[in-house]
């Protein structure tokens, strides 16, 4: 190893790394992380090497193990960072579209009002952080942490393209959905732990909501997987690219899933568990200060995941018509689709009032459930006829 810095930062092929975690799959964020870690570690190693020539520390720093560990850490940071920025964009998008819809201007700070969310976050940080005395402390804190944690984890687990993923599961959809469906349970616990009647009712409503829409949602998910013949997200997208976006054969399922997804991410018109006109702030009533801010953020993460689900299941994921799945802009294309779906979420929020608990159960079991079964029947017919 020489004295030149270029001897230390050589930009190796990350897949040639001995400990490359993704097998034979190319991973873009890992490569970004790997290159970053190479720059960082290479620079440190070169600097040490200036003083002590050919020392072991420098050699160790640029070894495959250290490089890999730092690369994985940076991979997570990159993926989370992108997810976070997408999240902020979606908050901005919602506020802007909702503003236009309500005949007002929306956010104003920064270019096109983009920095308003940052300002609001800062403001929320400055709020007093209150935890009531008569709470069940463990569940109060763990419920909060898990709600936020699972939401963020979920958002990170959503692959943006065939090369942008955190792990490649063969049953990726199921794992994602399992994590997704965990939240109402945590909300129930958190609502109970606050020793507040509004929170309790909010938590109960979250559970009530869950049983009414999650079954049709899961049926449609299974239907899509049936159509594609796989549970893996990559396979699903590839199948849609090869044949047809599922929104066309599963048009019923698409709309049903759309409604369910709004309910799952607990947004207006299905935000029963935090219905502010009846329950103050629902299950978040006693979470003050930045706790509330993080819950809000987690809500948007879940909204992002719900939109991503719709895009993956029905709108072809990152597949571009006539260009395939391996385009250089696959991630951007995917996120664009997600934002477009989210715009529809916002649109629904602007147009409709909140529904009642009995109405959501009625809708869930009398409308969404038969529709999802109908969707299944259609898909089975398509499969049997061998059209796809």
């Amino acid at each position: 190893m020489g004295l030149s810095i270029l001897d230390w930062i050589v930009f190796k092929n990350p897949m040639a790394n001995e400990y490359y975690p993704f097998g034979d799959m190319y991973n873009l964020p890992y490569e970004i992380g790997y290159k970053l870690s190479e720059i960082i570690l290479g620079f440190v190693a070169w600097f040490l090497n200036l003083f002590v020539h050919d020392n072991l520390w420098s050699q160790w720093l640029v070894s495959d193990v250290v490089m890999n560990v730092l690369a994985i850490i940076l991979l997570v940071v990159v993926i989370f960072g992108v997810g976070f920025i997408v999240n902020l964009t979606m908050i901005w998008e919602e506020r802007k579209i909702l503003g236009r819809l309500m005949d007002r201007r929306g956010t104003q700070i920064g270019p096109l009002g983009y920095f308003q969310c940052l300002g609001d976050g800062l403001k929320t940080f400055m709020k007093e952080n209150i935890a009531p005395k008569a709470i069940d402390k463990k569940i109060y804190w763990w419920g909060l942490a898990l709600v936020i944690g699972t939401s963020v984890l979920l958002a990170c687990m959503v692959p943006l393209s065939g090369r942008w993923f955190i792990a490649d599961y063969k049953v990726g959809l199921l794992i994602l959905f399992g994590m997704f469906a965990l939240a109402p349970f945590l909300i129930l616990c958190a609502g109970w732990a606050q020793n507040n009647k509004f929170s309790l009712i909010g938590g109960m409503r979250a559970a009530e909501l869950m049983i009414s829409y999650e079954v049709p949602m899961l049926i449609i998910l299974a239907t899509s997987c049936l159509l594609a013949g796989a549970y893996g997200i990559n396979d699903l997208v590839q199948f849609q690219n090869d044949h047809l976006w599922f929104v066309i054969p599963e048009i019923i399922g698409f709309f049903t899933f759309f409604v369910c997804a709004i309910a799952e991410s607990e947004r207006v018109p299905f935000d029963l568990s935090e219905a502010e006109a009846e329950l103050v702030e629902g299950w978040q009533t006693e979470y003050a200060g930045m706790k509330w801010g993080l819950i809000m953020l987690a809500d948007y993460f879940r909204g992002y995941v719900a939109c991503a689900f719709i895009v993956l299941l029905f709108l072809g994921g990152w597949a571009m018509p006539f260009a395939g799945t391996d385009t250089w802009y696959a991630e951007i294309w995917f996120l664009f689709k997600v934002c477009a779906v989210f715009a529809a979420f916002v649109w629904a929020r602007g147009a409709f009032p909140r529904v009642r608990t009995d109405q959501i159960i009625n809708i869930g079991w009398r409308v969404l459930m038969p529709l999802s079964i109908l969707n299944l029947v259609v898909v089975v017919a398509i499969k049997l006829m061998g059209w796809m």
Binding site: I97, G99, R100, L101, M102, D103, R104, R105, Q108, W347, A348, G350, A351, F352
Partner: protein
């Protein structure tokens, strides 16, 4: 006269469910994107208000008589008369308004006999301390005062209306005049001292037992503005306002 809407929306709901609201909101989204949205960006652009807007009270300093009608008309007692120097350096009485208590009812402008008090279009009144909210007579002057900001009191007398006269609007300061109950008068001359328009002249009506002049106030109806200062000042309640109806 039939119902205009209830017939269209009878008991049973026949709307188009979810399509209409979604369409309406989408339409508005595009409209407010293409055109301006309805809101105004307040600190940078302000809503136009007509001249008859009732903002804080304003004062046309030179017109004011210092009669104190506004002080008595004010429902929140936020006006008081203070002594200030006028342009010639003489000390005169002029109203000072505590805008912190003012509720912008416009009574001072309405009852002012010479239209010296006006309403103004000034509505941005926030200050850093309560002391700053007290507007002295000079500060009360408003730059853009015009005729529209004066409130003209135009009352009609019921007796006139009964006679069929409808084109003679008047006001209390044109008709109501103090009258003297001569027995009670002690010739103290307090009334003539407090009169802001010097409408009271003390006239000798005779001599008393000790040979001093008995002076009774004589009120000049042309000058009088019915401010009641003499009525309040009279130690023996000899004067009272006679209302013309």
């Amino acid at each position: 006269m039939p119902y205009k809407m209830l017939d269209k929306y009878p008991k049973k709901f026949r709307g188009t469910g979810i399509i209409t609201p979604m369409w309406a909101s989408l339409r508005r989204t595009f409209l407010s994107t293409i055109h301006r949205s309805m809101t105004i960006m307040y600190p940078y652009e302000k809503e136009w208000v007509p001249d008859n807007y009732r903002g804080r009270p304003g004062l046309i300093f030179d017109r004011c008589l210092g009669c104190g009608i506004c002080v008595r008309a004010c429902p929140t007692t936020c006006i008081e008369l203070v002594e200030v120097a006028d342009d010639d350096g003489n000390m005169v009485k002029r109203p000072q308004v505590n805008v912190g208590r003012c509720m912008m009812c416009g009574y001072c402008a309405e009852y002012c006999p010479v239209n010296a008090m006006t309403t103004t279009t000034d509505y941005e009144l926030a200050e850093f301390s309560r002391k700053d909210l007290i507007y002295d007579p000079r500060r009360l002057a408003f730059e853009g005062t015009n005729e529209m900001m004066e409130v003209h009191l135009e009352e009609h007398l019921l007796s006139n209306l009964a006679k069929g006269v409808t084109d003679q609007p008047t006001a209390f300061y044109k008709t109501d005049r103090p009258v003297l109950e001569e027995k009670k008068c002690i010739s103290c001359m307090k009334c003539s001292k407090v009169c802001p328009v010097e409408a009271i002249e003390m006239v000798v009506v005779g001599k008393n037992d000790k040979g001093r002049d008995i002076k009774h106030p004589k009120i000049d109806g042309e000058k009088c503005v019915s401010c009641e200062n003499c009525v309040i000042a009279c130690p023996k309640s000899a004067l009272k306002i006679e209302e013309v109806l």
